[in-house]
């Protein structure tokens, strides 16, 4: 069985939490005791509030809004799903970014009475920026517009303009009512003019995106296993997760950023040697030669060309209350590699409503900005659009440890060259 991770986004009161509640409820994924808790809170004479299934915090239930990302799980005979329910409030946009970073598909919820609003555009922009391939435009509350086809068609047309501007690869529009369950799990008679799949039918059919970039193997070292026992005296295993592509014993590889060349002697999973391993498997690589390798280093085939650079251009989703200004020193955490860096320039800011670039000298909370960074040591990266795994990084405050921004590497092919081979492998006996 495969696994689809999706995020629900849209403005506050568009009914995201109710939609997820409905998906869980109608697919028989809610247990009796949890239903009993809902019943206790049923409004007098009303329906149970399905949003309470996801709003897990006291403050959320009190205010009737979603503050933080909630994760829900359900399985149908066809597929296993991980749902990320992201908050709709503008002030919690960073949590939406968090949810989108791990999603394969985005459900963009729109209130049929309101149509496409700024928050729809903002969330679609963020989801597309973070590399989500599949979009569902879920036009909710169709019951409140008398199930009118014309209303739905107008919204689809409006969204089409957004999709074109952002070059979205795949958008499927579905009219529904989360409150009544129309077209969520089962197709609705109320919306008989709609001939497409229900939301769940679509989620079960949509292809799960393959690995980040199957043609470009990438592996970053997390941890060096050295048992140092008598029996395994010389054993050195480089533990990590394959970020993209496939590795095999015998592959000629280079260790970056040193550039040293060697060969994969063996790949181990669970203490057994395997003939091949592929993303996202967690493996141990053993190398033919005793080259210097430590946490944060990248091991790729000799013919692969990640950018090895101390200067990167990147898009940031700024997540800190304190604004970012050029000159700020911070840490870049590129998966297991951490280096000091400074922001040399803020190139522009993206207007999230119009998608236009505008000049700015500071990034405020929730801003999306293009920046230039200079790092103290070399990073081994790819363009985010080429490789969602190795093109991603976060910025961290050196003093407090706070996560300040999500970063996406941009334009590596255009701006950078892979440096020539630096040295031959050094052997120590």
């Amino acid at each position: 069985m495969d696994l689809l991770r999706f995020i629900t986004c849209g403005s506050v009161d568009d009914g995201k939490s109710t939609l997820i509640g409905r998906l869980l409820y109608d697919s028989d994924s809610v247990s009796l005791d949890v239903l009993a808790t809902l019943e206790k809170r049923r409004h007098a004479g009303g329906a149970v509030d399905l949003a309470l299934l996801t709003d897990g915090l006291k403050a959320e239930r009190e205010q009737g809004i979603t503050i933080d990302v909630a994760h829900k799980y359900f399985t149908t005979p066809r597929r296993k799903f991980i749902i990320t329910d992201a908050p709709g409030h503008v002030q919690y946009t960073r949590n939406m970014v968090t949810g989108a970073s791990n999603a394969d598909l985005a459900i963009v919820l729109v209130d049929a009475r309101q149509g496409i609003i700024e928050q729809t555009r903002r969330h679609t922009l963020i989801a597309s920026l973070l590399g989500i391939q599949h979009f569902v435009l879920a036009v909710n509350k169709m019951d409140l517009v008398s199930h009118e086809e014309a209303v739905f068609n107008q919204i689809v047309e409006d969204y089409h303009a957004v999709a074109e501007q952002l070059k979205l690869a795949s958008v499927v529009a579905i009219p529904l009512s989360a409150l009544n369950g129309d077209n969520v799990v089962r197709r609705s008679r109320q919306l008989g003019w709609y001939e497409g799949p229900s939301l769940l039918e679509h989620l079960e059919q949509v292809p799960v995106p393959a690995d980040a970039n199957p043609n470009e193997p990438r592996f970053q070292v997390q941890y060096v296993i050295r048992p140092q026992t008598e029996e395994l005296h010389d054993y050195r295993g480089y533990a990590g997760r394959i970020q993209s592509g496939t590795y095999r014993p015998g592959d000629r590889v280079r260790v970056w950023p040193s550039g040293l060349e060697t060969e994969i002697e063996a790949i181990e999973i669970n203490e057994r040697e395997v003939a091949a391993a592929t993303a996202p498997q967690a493996v141990v690589l053993r190398l033919r030669d005793d080259v210097d390798v430590s946490r944060g280093d990248t091991i790729v085939p000799v013919n692969a060309h990640p950018a090895v650079t101390r200067e990167v251009e990147a898009t940031l989703c700024w997540m800190d209350e304190r604004p970012l200004k050029a000159g700020r020193k911070l840490l870049v955490q590129h998966h297991t590699a951490v280096v000091k860096a400074s922001v040399t320039a803020i190139v522009y800011k993206t207007n999230v409503a119009t998608f236009e670039s505008v000049g700015t000298d500071a990034a405020q909370l929730n801003d999306i900005v293009r920046v230039q960074l200079k790092t103290a040591g070399p990073l081994v990266v790819d363009d985010y659009r080429q490789n969602r795994a190795t093109g991603a990084f976060i910025l961290v405050d050196e003093q407090t440890g706070a996560t300040l921004a999500a970063g996406l590497i941009e334009g590596t092919e255009r701006d950078y060259f892979t440096p020539p081979v630096l040295a031959e492998a050094s052997f120590s006996i």
Partner: protein, 314 residues
């Protein structure tokens, strides 16, 4: 040395990973991030199936090396005997260090109030012992087997969850957790709780136990047990820690445990499931959630878990 595994010899580019492979890879990756980022991590081991599954994942992450952390058990003194025996033999067979700290000692040393009532639960008091053991050994990261599907407050928690020096969780100030990049940088006094199987469901854990042939304590499987019938209809296994009286109805039933915690607050469920296969079949048909079926402490209030986590609970 490692042996070549013939079953894995597949043609090029046809390695297919199912969802369990993906969850496993994610958990191993998280465990190795703990090893790579922290000076003094620990694995909180309860003797329950989730923490037993964690030890298997740790073997996969770090063998042929040693675990880069000890196993730490906070013993309420109200545990089922079978669990304690199992804990000791598992630690011995893994050849890893086991640190045990008693809640009873914390109660004495700190002059805490011993819970009373018919079903005295030391569950909330574990927090004190946990904070003490963190301080005693200077642990900067504690790995736990909590899962987001267990409870709605847990559903909101990060995989790397930063706690202040009092162990408190502030749900409104959580760090954004982007992609699979885990930020474990902390200030002095803070520590991080890490949940490698956050994205697993109860059924996933059982499917994994089946696939990996993981051994579990016997109390997970159907057995005859003398139980007291609670007013809610739930069954609580008889133990010396309960303060029963004449009005209590004692029955003998065929039961198993879905979770194991303090024997005074973990109910048994009636079941004939004798094997992992049977349990998986049971779960596929189950209509009541894991904690709802078995945990008395969560049912106390709707925010039971959130309140305890805010105060430093696991």
């Amino acid at each position: 040395m490692a042996q070549l595994e013939p079953s894995f010899l597949r043609p090029m580019n046809t390695i297919t990973l199912d969802y369990l492979d993906r969850l496993e890879a994610e958990a191993i990756h998280i465990l190795r991030e703990v090893a790579g980022q922290f000076e003094r991590p620990a694995l909180l081991f309860s003797g329950g199936k989730d923490s037993i599954a964690l030890t298997r994942l740790a073997e996969k992450a770090f063998r042929p090396g040693r675990f880069p952390f000890p196993l730490v058990h906070i013993d309420t003194g109200h545990n089922f005997e079978e669990i304690i025996d199992f804990r000791d033999s598992l630690a011995a067979s893994l050849g890893e260090q086991l640190i045990v700290r008693q809640v009873a000692d914390t109660i004495r040393e700190r002059g805490l109030h011993e819970p009373g009532g018919k079903y005295p639960s030391r569950n909330p008091l574990q927090t004190y012992t946990l904070l003490d053991v963190i301080e005693e050994f200077g642990f900067d990261a504690c790995i736990g087997g909590a899962r987001r599907d267990e409870e709605k407050a847990r559903a909101k928690e990060r995989i790397f969850s930063v706690r202040d020096e009092f162990g408190q969780w502030d749900p409104r100030r959580q760090r954004p957790e982007l992609w699979n990049i885990y930020n474990g940088r902390i200030q002095k006094g803070e520590n991080v709780r890490v949940f490698p199987i956050s994205n697993w469901t109860e059924l996933d854990v059982w499917n994994y136990i089946q696939r990996e042939n993981i051994q579990l304590p016997d109390i997970y499987f159907a057995h005859e047990r003398r139980c007291v019938v609670l007013p809610s209809g739930q069954l609580l296994g008889l133990s010396e820690h309960l303060n029963l009286d004449d009005t209590d109805e004692i029955v003998s039933r065929r039961v198993r445990f879905r979770t194991v915690g303090d024997s005074t607050c973990t109910a048994a469920v009636e079941s004939d499931a004798e094997s992992v296969d049977d349990i998986i079949q049971d779960l596929l048909l189950a209509k009541v959630s894991e904690r709802g079926a078995t945990r008395l402490d969560d049912n106390l209030s709707e925010t039971g878990m959130e309140d305890r986590k805010r105060n430093g609970y696991f």
